[in-house]
Amino acid sequence: MITLEHVSKTYGGFTAVDDVSFTALPGRVTGFLGPNGAGKSTSMRIMVGLTHADHGTATIGGHKYADIPNPGRHVGVLLDASAQHAGRTGREVLALSALTMGLPESRVDEMLALVGLSDSEAKRRVRNYSLGMRQRLGIANALMADPSVLILDEPANGLDPAGIHWMRSLLRSYAERGGTVLLSSHLLHEVEMIADEMVLIGRGRIVAQGTKAELLHTHGTFVRAEHPQKLAAALAEADIKASPSGDGGLRAECDPIDIGRVAAAAGVVLAELRPAEGAGLEELFLELTADDARETVTTEGVQL
């Protein structure tokens, strides 16, 4: 279990992490989701003590990370696959970790096999590795001691589709055996596919958290009219908030029948009227981080 309570970190005047609290539970894969620079990596560094928080506490299984003896045995960490000595061979990188943690050298071969790095690849120096290979090496490093908690920052970065599939099943089986898995990503689809729980962060703040089902559950109505402007005007007059939602339709935060009444009263012909389906994480994500995103994105796509 990973617990963050009111964690904050500022750099000069810039607040990177702002009062962040959440829990990643055992037996679950928790997705830590947010746009670039939202504070995911800083939060993860705070969890393992590489960055000191200004306020708040971060514990892993009830302990501060620094108080865990030989923490690699309990917590598998991959924060940056590129943070490896370019001049060491992949095998040597793992061998150093195995030696530090007191694991037999045979474990290195097992891990290389697990992440699919061949003998000749393991003998190459890390400088000649692709990002995907570094990522596999980093995952091997994190899994080496068979820890019960995994903290992975953007682990799918650079992996090919087969690699992503492999990692997904690997992490899934880890959680099923009771492990705690926290992984971050800025790619929604990736997290949607694998995570049971989700924590969404934008500009240092948690903007939403819960199970995937909870977050995807939406209420509201989708409506498409013959004359969208006329409907929009009628809804505005009736004080119903509606926003454009693909295909010239509108999404409103009310029940379908309310829209029907307004349309009937205004004499607007409707082409479609139904409860809005699960808007998908993407819409939710864009909506929640709209103020924080670097690009202005509308749910209708890029306006040309």
Binding site: L50, A66, D80, T100, N141
Partner: protein, 257 residues
């Protein structure tokens, strides 16, 4: 991992990695890259080369064990500090500190392991230098080559070697950058000697301020005077111990990313 849930981590049965293991890891880090390996090979090769050249070219009455030891030590005095610097800074320039400090979050333990590793490497260099000097004396030795030799000479030589590698370590900690630490390590003493040589008023105070000047008597025959020991202690504090403490403070607090 068994099929239970882990709200709490059960830490019984896990112990910290013993210091001996951390030292082993640090020593291994010095030899498992081409750069590190070649630095060690270079140190050994230059040691042999310097003594051989002196053995072939030196005057008969100069070819004593004592002088051979000086010649073996001179190139080491330049390269050992670089070793000390790299021991620390490669973790930052190659960003491996992220893994190192994740596996041992008590950073002071990792640093202690680096200090021990540095001392062991210094000891190895000392043994090699003495060994090479002995061999050179047997092969090239002039008239009465073992004359004027006392235990104090070995002690002075050891102080020179160990202070160099520790000063390198301290500079590495202070600057956390290979290039910066190496350049300053060599530029500062040169700058000081230019300063002391051009400003006559400062010349007398040089051994009280400049570590290099205070180390000078370590290369002379015989024991140091009380004043010279004092100068060595004061400049050593200023140039090795204080930078080390400042660097320690910096490394313990630094954000690792």
């Amino acid at each position: 991992m068994t099929a239970t849930t882990y709200a709490e981590l059960d830490l019984t049965g896990t112990t910290r990695p013993p210091m001996s293991r951390l030292v082993k890891v640090e020593l291994r880090k010095m030899v498992d890259t081409r750069a590190g390996m070649w630095l060690l090979i270079t140190i050994a090769a230059v040691t042999v080369l310097a003594t051989t050249i002196f053995g072939l070219a030196g005057h008969d009455q100069d070819r004593t064990f004592y002088n051979f030891m000086q010649f073996a030590g001179a190139p080491q005095g330049v390269l050992l500090p670089v070793l000390g610097i790299l021991l620390v800074t490669q973790e930052w320039s190659q960003r491996t500190a992220m893994v190192t400090f994740t596996l041992e979050p008590r950073r002071s333990r990792t640093l202690a392991a680096k200090v021990y590793a540095a001392l062991l490497l210094g000891l190895a260099a000392f043994v090699v230098a003495v060994g090479v000097a002995t061999l050179a004396t047997v092969v090239f030795g002039g008239t009465d080559p073992w004359r004027n030799l006392g235990g104090i000479d070995f002690a002075k030589f050891a102080i020179l070697q160990f202070s160099g590698i520790l000063q390198g370590l301290a500079f590495g900690l202070l600057f956390l950058s290979s290039a910066f630490a190496i350049v300053l390590f060599f530029v500062l003493p040169t700058g000081f000697s230019i300063l002391f040589n051009t400003v006559p008023a400062l010349e007398d105070s040089a051994p009280w301020i400049d570590f290099g000047t205070a180390q000078g008597p370590l290369g002379d025959v015989g024991n140091l005077s009380g004043q010279e020991w004092a100068q060595l202690a004061i400049t050593g504090t200023a140039w090795v111990i204080l930078p080390f403490l400042a660097g320690l403070w910096r490394m313990l607090r630094a954000e690792v990313k």
